[in-house]
């Protein structure tokens, strides 16, 4: 576990862990102790109590979004808020389940419950990702920044184009095309899957090819290898060998960068669902509470 993660959920968060455990145990105790007249559910006095508690918890959990942005706030540290957010967020599911009396259906009430569960599960995903990825990211970067990785690739590209200038035009075209058609990031899918959407236009007998897919420079490396095998000129071979070396190095740097981007994308991705679903949950919660009293 990274040290940052430990400080959020560990030492500092301990008191919120005990608070959450206390709340859940107390509510289970009340639930077991009470003898509802009729089925358990939101309509009993305990049901209203649990529902109010769950709703207040959800509103407070949503407030983290506001607290995170207000840098001037003196209302606790953001770290404290995050650890409380995690532990009390986990407590919402048992409290809401007791509020529902373990009864569910196809209605707006269960919609609110399902969204609660989905948001909490995504939150757990986020906690797990933040527990594992930062460490793997630093191991992958080996002390460099992302910008340095990008610059390394650009540097390798520039060197390759310079080498190719002295060679026949087909090499110049190929190396420029590989440079121009390199895609570092890409679509959301590319980022999350680590897919490389780069392409390259290669010279062909009588003209040039259309764009060819060039994932991790594989197509270019194959083409260079082919050219090297066919070369009978010692000087040319040496230069092509140099291009191969540079492109291989570019491939390595690219793999490192794409891995870094993939980690980053996953660290970002869960929040892209966590936040919008939280707002969906807020709407479902409002509809749940209002509809219960409209049709009292």
């Amino acid at each position: 576990m990274s040290s940052v993660h430990e400080s959020v959920l560990g030492q500092m968060g301990r008191r919120y862990l005990w608070l959450a455990v206390g709340v859940v145990v107390a509510m289970f105790g009340l639930y077991g102790w009470q003898a509802p007249t009729g089925l358990p559910g939101g309509g009993t006095w305990l049901g209203y109590t649990l529902g109010t508690l769950a709703a207040l918890l959800i509103l407070w959990l949503l407030a983290l979004g506001a607290r995170k942005r207000s840098y001037a706030s003196k209302l606790g540290t953001v770290r404290g808020w995050v650890s409380a957010h995690v532990y009390l967020g986990l407590a919402v599911v048992p409290v809401a389940t007791l509020h529902a009396g373990f009864r569910f259906g196809w209605n707006v009430h269960t919609l609110a419950y399902a969204l609660t569960c989905a948001v909490v599960v995504l939150g757990i995903v986020g906690v797990v990702l933040y527990a594992r990825y930062p460490e793997r990211m630093s191991a992958n970067r080996q002390g460099r920044t992302r910008q340095q990785l990008v610059e390394e690739i650009a540097d390798l590209d520039a060197r390759a184009v310079r080498v190719a200038q002295a060679l026949p035009a087909e090499f110049d075209d190929a190396m420029r095309s590989a440079r121009d058609r390199l895609i570092l990031g890409g679509s959301a899918f590319d980022l999350l899957a680590g897919r490389d959407g780069s392409s390259v236009v290669l010279p062909r007998a009588g003209g040039s090819s259309g764009p060819l897919s060039n994932p991790y420079q594989a197509t270019l490396l194959a083409w260079l290898g082919d050219r090297l095998a066919r070369s009978e000129d010692g000087e040319l071979s040496a230069r092509v060998q140099e291009l191969l070396t540079l492109t291989s190095a570019k491939r390595g740097a690219l793999e490192r960068l794409k891995r870094d981007l993939r980690f980053q994308a996953w660290l970002d991705a869960w929040l892209y669902l966590h936040v919008p679903l939280s707002f969906g949950l807020l709407a479902a919660l409002l509809a749940h509470v209002a509809s219960v009293f409209i049709y009292w």
Binding site: T37, G38, L39, G41, G42, R103, G105, W106, N107, V108, L111, R146, V150, D172, D173, R176, D180, R181, I183, L184, G185, G186, S187, A188, L191, S198, S199, V201, P203, R204, G206, G207, S208, G210, P211, L261, Q264, A265, D268, A269, L271, Y272, V275, P276, L277, S278, F279, G280, L282, A283, A284, L286, A287, A290, S291, V292, F293, I294, Y295, W296
Partner: protein
């Protein structure tokens, strides 16, 4: 199609660097996307902006709508290219030049030095999710407003109009059905999806009128008039006990339904209730009280008194002479048909359904042995039961007929019937009177014997009265038909070998008709315990096992006036 692309790069000194590329394919594609033959790193260019291809002998350029391109300072979408045409696409200039041999179209490609390069090369590498048009804010608003509108605002607005509400319910969008917490009980299926049939006013709890609109005619109140249902104003609400959206609980059958009031009924009714407190059948329940008619009352249901079964003064004034013990003599009873051993079932027969017993009727249950014959010569001739004047008339008619047999009375004829004298001697008037006199005297003797000694007084209290015509009076019999009218007991459900009649009714030891053979609570508690006593090895029996709430002996249910401080 073969195309030659000549890339021109102007060096700062004015020198022009040229690179050429030959493309061979169906169409030369231009755009920002990576799969385009000519890729533009310029935001003003669409992903798939245009394509250049050969149509017959001409070379044409066609933009993919809505993209356009500037050719020779004119904005066009589809155009036939000719030599010398200058195409401007973002910050790029493409010029059609004369193609060398074997090439269909040739063009030069260079950056326009006059255009600011801010948009060129500024296509930032999309390294983070936030740069790929995946927003949190937009989705958040969409989900928030979408769910709020679909599940709250639209259904709520539609509530105001009946037609619009029906329309929404018929459609595919969520309607107020999404607010339902559970399916209705089968008995309420006819309501269908019309939530507003019961939820008549928003933000007001379901009112009793909604229930009484259908149930009013058949519904009885709980307590007697003048006694409040309870201190809790909620206790008068139908929904307190009937949870419509919990089919299993449409009718509640738990003790908590009753105990809030019955734990201390005196306090709840300000001392007016005489019913003992009860919270649990096994541990806190008053002794049973049998309901008896008040002496002298004429069947008025209100003139009843209730006496605990263990009261030493408990007697039923039935005005009957009867002993269960004599009738159940195991050695048998001497009857016309020989010795018979009677069992309970010989007289006590269950009503259809088996819950309660049929009333005891003399002609059905007693007369088989207690025959009402009066002339040993004619044992089949019996007197009517239950009618003193009728008995006297029957006797008089019988004896008159016997003494005047064969001597019809010429004067006694019905209207319109002509008397035809029969041949033979006629009875003289004096003789006729004499014979009638004997018949009357005989009637008196037999009647006195029957009423006072032999037949009637065996079972009944018979008094002689000064009345000349009907000189006897039989005290009317009051037999209770329902000892515990408020309790629902079913004999048929207790018809096991473990529960023989005598287990609850000590008939073998009863010698008096006044004995009340109803069992006390101890008798039931041998097998039954309260609903909370599931571990006692007894039948867990809550209040509704024996009691009903809507009591048909009470008046009709009416909407109680709204308690102060609640919604009107």
């Amino acid at each position: 199609m073969r195309a030659l692309i000549r890339f021109l790069t102007r060096a700062p000194g004015g020198a022009i660097e040229t690179r050429e590329r030959v493309f061979e394919g169906d169409a030369l594609t231009l755009g920002r996307a990576t799969d385009q033959v000519l890729q533009f790193k310029d935001r003003r260019v669409a992903f798939q902006h245009a394509r250049v291809y050969r149509r017959d002998e001409r070379i044409v350029l066609s933009c993919r709508s809505p993209a356009t391109i500037v050719i020779n300072e004119a904005l066009v979408r589809d155009v036939e290219l000719s030599l010398g045409d200058v195409l401007r696409l973002g910050a790029n200039i493409l010029t059609i030049v004369a193609p060398p041999a074997g090439i269909d179209v040739a063009l030069t490609f260079e950056l326009d030095p006059s255009v600011a390069g801010s948009d060129v090369e500024a296509v930032d590498p999309r390294l983070r999710l936030r740069s790929v048009r995946l927003g949190k804010r937009g989705w958040s608003w969409l989900l928030f407003l979408g769910i709020l509108a679909a599940f709250l605002v639209v259904p709520f607005v539609m509530l105001s109009g009946k037609a619009s509400l029906e329309g929404l319910r018929a459609g595919p969008l969520p309607c107020d059905h999404a607010w339902s917490t559970g399916a209705l009980h089968e008995a309420h299926r006819t309501i269908g999806g019309r939530c507003d049939a019961c939820h008549q006013r928003p933000f007001v709890r379901v009112e009793n009128q909604a229930c009484l609109a259908c149930h009013g005619p058949a519904l009885h109140r709980h307590a007697s008039p003048g006694i409040a249902v309870g201190a809790d104003p909620d206790s008068a609400r139908c929904e307190r006990c009937h949870s419509s959206h919990e089919p299993a609980l449409l009718t509640r059958r738990d003790d908590a339904l009753c105990t809030p009031c019955h734990a201390d009924l005196k306090a709840v009714t300000a001392g007016r209730s005489t019913t003992g407190d009860a919270t649990d059948f096994g541990t806190r329940h008053p002794q049973f009280r049998v309901t008896l008619q008040v002496e002298g009352a004429s069947g008025d249901a209100d003139r009843l008194r209730r006496v605990p079964v263990d009261s030493p003064t408990l007697r039923e004034k039935s005005h009957l002479k009867f002993g269960h013990a004599q009738h159940l003599d195991p050695r048998g009873l001497k009857t016309q048909d020989g010795t018979r051993v009677l069992g309970c079932g010989d007289c006590h027969r269950p009503q259809p359904g088996g819950a309660r017993m049929q009333p005891i009727v003399m002609t059905e249950h007693c007369q088989g042995c207690h025959r009402l014959d009066f002339d040993p010569a004619f044992p089949d001739r019996q007197l009517p039961h239950g009618d003193v004047a009728g008995v006297l008339n029957t006797l008089l008619e019988y004896y008159s007929a016997r003494y005047l047999e064969g001597w019809p009375d010429p004067a006694a004829r019905g209207p319109g019937v002509r008397f035809t004298a029969t041949p033979g001697p006629a009875l003289a008037a004096a003789e006729r009177e004499r014979r009638l006199g004997i018949a009357k005297a005989r009637t008196q003797i037999v009647a006195r014997d029957l009423f006072a000694r032999r037949a009637c007084s065996v079972c009944h209290e018979v008094r002689q009265t000064p009345d000349a015509v009907v000189p006897w009076e039989v005290t009317p019999v009051h037999l209770a038909q329902a000892w515990f009218p408020a309790a629902s007991f079913d004999h048929s459900r207790h018809g096991t070998t473990l529960t023989a009649c005598t287990r609850c009714h000590a008939a073998q030891r009863s010698t008096q008709a006044d004995d009340v053979l109803m069992p006390g609570i101890e008798s039931c508690q041998r097998c039954h315990a309260g609903s909370a006593s599931s571990t006692s090895g007894k039948v867990a029996s809550g209040c509704p096992a024996c009691h009903v709430f809507h009591d048909s002996r009470r008046g009709r249910w009416v909407v109680p006036p709204a308690a102060p401080g609640r919604a009107p």
